[in-house]
């Protein structure tokens, strides 16, 4: 197992940055730099801090250093017949575990099995005072102290440098079938929403190019029976499709127009915004490629109770993420200064004043 602990070096770099007032830009595999707002600073390279620290398949827990390549983690789990159940997108060959957790990214299984944050059990982090702190642990149930580990998920490194992460892992399903059916977007939405209240072993559902795709996973018998119950045509070897969806390799994602991530309730009818749509997460995460102005998109989505992220192809200094209500922003700012009082980590990565 290739591993190296450079937490002391990282700690020293953070202390120096605090001393010099130098902002730091945290970098792992550089695969997700395109996400969020642009941030400037000296690079704090975490990729050398790598290696799986512990993985006991019987405990369903894996602990690894943040710079560990995501591929390495997934390969180790696959050897034990296990997986990261939130099916994280890599967005590049060098994706690290730390970047995946810091960005809080989850793949097609998310609505049925949980998100990246749901599987985080604990972490070791370096805060903006250069202190190494541990929160959570390697056990599934733990309510001692505030859940700081999960707070780190999706914080884009603005609160601290993740050093080590413990995750709950799950066995890989014995069998998996993908069913496909031609339909309209509206039909797909109601079909996918109905799956939520049926006891069927669904672990992914999306709508793309006039077709609804439903992936069933579980024991061989369970999957077979569910197929009989739901109907639809089975696609052989569907793995590449879900992989391409997760990694944004489908042609849909290579448009020259900006790409938006639109979050709404899964059963929300099709939104009246001109553009092309791809619905993942059973309708709860909708990808939109559109030339409409962001203000209009935000307004329409907000009217449906949702929120929008400018995912790719937008101005990196603008409001990439949905702006926060004023009182919430104050709490965010206070939290930021509680972890990073000198404002050295990933300045402005999620909001201009964080």
């Amino acid at each position: 197992m290739l591993g190296r602990d450079i937490s002391e070096t990282l700690q020293q770099q953070v202390r120096n940055a605090v001393g010099n007032g130098t902002p730091l830009k945290i970098e792992g595999g550089n695969s997700k730099t395109f996400l969020g707002r642009e941030t400037h600073g000296e690079t704090l390279d975490v990729s050398g801090h790598r290696g799986i620290v512990e993985h006991d398949p019987r405990e369903l827990v894996l602990t690894a250093r943040s710079g560990t390549p995501l591929k390495e983690v997934e390969a180790a789990l696959a050897d034990a017949g296990q997986m990261l159940a939130f099916e994280p997108p890599h967005f590049g060959d060098n994706a690290t575990l730390g970047g995946t957790i810091a960005c809080g990214l989850s793949g097609p299984r998310r609505p049925f099995c949980g998100s990246a944050r749901d599987f985080v059990l604990g972490c070791k982090l370096l805060n903006g005072k250069g202190e190494i702190l541990r929160f959570g642990g390697q056990v599934i149930k733990n309510v001692a102290g505030y859940d700081v580990s999960r707070l780190m998920v999706g914080a884009y490194g603005t609160l601290g440098v993740l050093l080590e992460i413990s995750l709950k892992v799950l066995p890989r399903p014995a069998a998996s079938y993908t069913l496909i059916q031609e339909c309209t977007q509206a039909e797909a939405i109601s079909k996918m929403s109905r799956l939520l209240s049926q006891p069927v072993p669904v672990d992914a559902a999306c709508y793309h190019a006039g077709h609804c795709y439903v992936r069933l996973s579980g024991s061989e018998q369970a999957v077979k029976h569910a197929h009989e119950h739901l109907g639809g045509e089975v696609i052989e070897k569907s793995e590449p499709f879900w992989h391409a969806l997760r990694e944004h390799h489908l042609p849909f994602f290579s448009s020259a127009k900006p790409l938006y991530r639109v979050m709404v309730k899964p059963a929300e009818p099709p939104l009246e915004i001109v553009g092309e749509w791809l619905l993942d997460w059973g309708g709860a995460q909708r990808w939109l490629v559109s030339d409409e102005p962001i203000a209009l998109i935000r307004e329409r989505v907000a009217a449906a109770g949702g929120h929008v992220t400018q995912f790719r192809g937008s101005e990196r200094n603008g409001e990439i993420f949905q702006p926060l209500a004023a009182p919430l922003l104050i709490i965010h700012q206070r939290l930021k200064s509680s972890f990073d009082p000198h404002e050295i980590f990933n300045r402005g990565r999620i909001y201009a004043n964080l």
Binding site: S115, G137, A144, S197, S219, H307, L328, S338
Partner: protein, 496 residues
């Protein structure tokens, strides 16, 4: 003006002023100040800690909660929020100088949305009532703490409650989408969203398990799940506790995630059998209950596999509940373990540590050695699937020094849990009860970070002060005491 040691005004005039102003905000019956009216609020489910609050308020609208909070903030009066009061760590223990804010009147189910599989609830809705209301749509709310008949969803969020199905379905934090909360300053915030995630930091995760320290929960939106087609339970008997522990690991290693996986040792089996007559084998040293759920086909397949694993693991007997009545009976024995133990001993002290499952044999062996050393019997009930131990130490509070010995024994168990990589509390929370043990699990810098997190929500430190996270000074004192033979001197003193 006389000031208490916390720097809070404690004179009669200030108290009367507060009560008068509260009466201006609320109807007369919603402000309680008579001793007999305050009595029901003096403790939560951990009744060894009792204290009367200065005043109890029972608002019924969010606007009223905001007005109360603004008033208390202006007067710098501390507030303790309370749900059903079933908590087991003293988290809802009132303050004699403070307001006890009961959410008992917030008991309406606001909306069930079957299309999106979610429900919006007032915080005082009982846990079980959610599943009852959702049943019409084939849905249910997964977390099922043992107090689910009485405990409320607001308290579940505050404690991040679990239940017997955590391994497969997660804790409260995994099953909530959105909260409306009121801060100490009276600000109404929406945390999370009806969508699967929300912009900004994951404050929803912070709120879950925050023990009423960050904000008052006034509305909760939960995720509902489709009811499994079938649930089936197996009961396996073992002549050795360690074999039972090994079997747990073997089931999981086979790629099966049971919906529930519970273990009881001989003392617990006997107590429970005398009480609930579930038909547990009395000659067993340990039993495992393994519930499998899912589709019909899947459950059948898994039952065959699990039976085989249990036999291979040395089970002396494996039974499958033949029908729903028998399934309920198997569970009844387990679910009544606490009251059953309560019958065989004048008092018991329930621990709540978690450990990595592989440490089970080691930890059980150590507990049984200490049990002999202290002369205090222990019944072990264990959420084996998720590593959550509930050793029940049997004692008699009327016997001189026995409570102190019990607490010392309990403290050693929790310390052991931390040493083997676990936690001092899996689901009951820290509250007042385990505040000293927090000093074992966390370093000063980590505790300081917790205090800073609290300050981000409650800069004045008026919400449930003194609970959940100890001051560094307290830990220094506890550490110093701790060195002296691991004994707590002055056990008679209040522990803040």
């Amino acid at each position: 003006m006389p000031v208490s040691k916390d720097g809070l005004p404690c004179n009669r005039d200030a108290h009367e002023d507060l009560i008068r102003k509260l009466r201006e905000l609320l109807p007369p019956e919603a402000v309680l100040t008579d001793k007999e009216d305050l009595r029901p609020f003096e403790c939560d489910g951990l009744s060894v800690y009792r204290r009367l609050p200065l005043v109890v308020v029972l608002p019924e609208t969010i606007a009223q909660v905001q007005a109360i909070m603004r008033l208390c903030y202006a007067l710098q009066v501390p507030v303790v929020a309370r749900g059903a009061g079933t908590g087991l760590s003293g988290g809802a223990l009132p303050l004699s100088d403070g307001v006890l804010l009961s959410l008992a009147k917030f008991k309406r189910i606001l909306h069930i949305d079957p299309e999106n599989a979610m429900a919006t609830l007032q915080p005082g809705v009982r846990n079980l009532a959610i599943s009852d209301a959702a049943a019409a749509y084939g849905l249910y709310y997964a977390p099922d703490p043992s107090s689910q008949i009485a405990c409320t969803i607001g308290g579940n969020v505050a404690e991040n409650s679990g239940g017997v199905h955590c391994l497969k379905y997660g804790l409260t934090v995994h099953n909530i989408l959105m909260l409306k909360v009121v801060t100490m300053e009276g600000e109404l915030l929406t945390i999370g969203a009806e969508t699967l995630d929300s912009p900004g930091y994951d404050l929803l995760a912070l709120m879950a398990g925050s023990e009423g320290m960050l904000a008052v929960i006034v509305e909760v939106t939960v995720k509902l799940l489709a009811k499994p087609e079938r649930a089936q339970v197996l009961l396996a008997a073992f002549d050795d506790v360690y074999k039972a522990g090994e079997a747990v690991g073997a089931i999981i290693a086979a790629g099966i995630i049971p919906a529930g996986l519970e273990m009881m040792d001989k003392v617990a089996i006997h107590a429970s059998e005398d009480y609930a007559h579930a038909g547990y084998p009395r000659d067993a040293e340990a039993i495992l209950l393994c519930e499998l759920d899912g589709t019909n086909a899947e459950v059948s397949e898994h039952i065959m596999k699990v039976r085989e694993i249990l036999h291979q693991g040395g089970a002396t007997e494996v039974r499958t509940a033949v029908n729903e009545a028998e399934r309920q009976l198997f569970w009844k024995g387990r679910k009544s373990a606490f009251p059953a133990v309560g019958r065989i001993s004048p008092d018991y002290y329930c621990m709540d540590g978690t450990i990595p499952r592989r440490q089970l044999p080691h930890v059980l062996r150590q507990i049984s050695l200490w049990s002999e050393e202290y002369g205090l019997p222990v019944a072990n009930v264990f959420h084996a699937g998720d590593g959550n131990l509930h050793p029940l130490i049997l004692f008699d509070a009327n016997k001189d020094g026995e409570l102190a010995r019990t607490e010392e024994f309990g403290q050693r168990i929790l310390q052991l849990c931390v040493e083997v990589g676990g936690s001092i509390t899996g689901e009951h929370g820290v509250g007042m009860e385990k505040i000293n043990q927090m000093c074992i699990q966390f370093k000063s810098a980590e505790l300081s970070q917790f205090h800073a997190v609290k300050s981000a929500f409650d800069p004045a430190g008026l919400l449930n002060p003194g609970k959940a996270v100890p001051t560094l000074q307290r830990c220094a004192e506890f550490g110093a005491m701790h060195v002296h033979h691991g004994k707590l001197p002055h056990a008679e003193l209040e522990r803040f």
